[in-house]
Symmetry: C2
Subunit: 110 residues, 2 copies
């Protein structure tokens, strides 16, 4: 389960605006490639590539249903991002409280 020599990680996957749009599309509905493609001004092949990248980053997964392949969100993976973010959260919280402190206690470089 840990043998993934992934080419694309979550950070790269969400870097592209089109892929973020795809994620938004899949937020509620499971959709086949053609359906997804119909929302974008580009070829089905292009969207298929984006889906492949999202899939490699485990942000979506595809299930074959008949001749379709339905893609759905894999929201657990967003946790990875959240964890990364939470490390920095302390710093902006700190900064805000520090700003508060500065404003309240001292207003300059006397």
């Amino acid at each position: 389960m840990s043998s993934s020599a992934q080419k694309y990680d979550v950070f790269q996957a969400i870097a592209d605006p089109t892929r973020r749009e795809v994620l938004k599309l899949l937020a509620h509905n499971e959709l086949p490639i053609s359906e997804i493609t119909s929302h974008f001004p580009m070829s089905r092949t292009a969207i298929a590539k984006h889906l492949h990248i999202l899939s490699e980053a485990n942000l979506v997964s595809g299930q074959k249903v008949g001749r379709e392949k339905r893609y759905r969100l894999q929201p657990e993976t967003f946790q990875e991002l959240k964890d990364w973010l939470s490390y920095y959260e302390q710093f902006w919280n700190n900064k805000l409280s520090m700003l508060k402190y500065v404003v309240e206690s001292d207003n300059g470089d006397s």
Copy 2:
């Protein structure tokens, strides 16, 4: 104030592993470019470019101090990411809420 035709947004900025390392380095200390560079196996110019990109995304800011330019984290910008993430949070945090959402917005094909 909203005239920024940014070339790099937050998502692109954090897509690169080196840039994420830079952010980590700057988490606690304000540092000049040379100092930062000393932590990486690449040229100062390369790091300068990364800093420029991080700066354009408002993840860091640089202050000139003498002949140095000190870069520091600008943690407020991470909020943008957090907001984006929070949209998807409902889908993984609590399966009940997802179920609830699906049931309520029922657009099923039955």
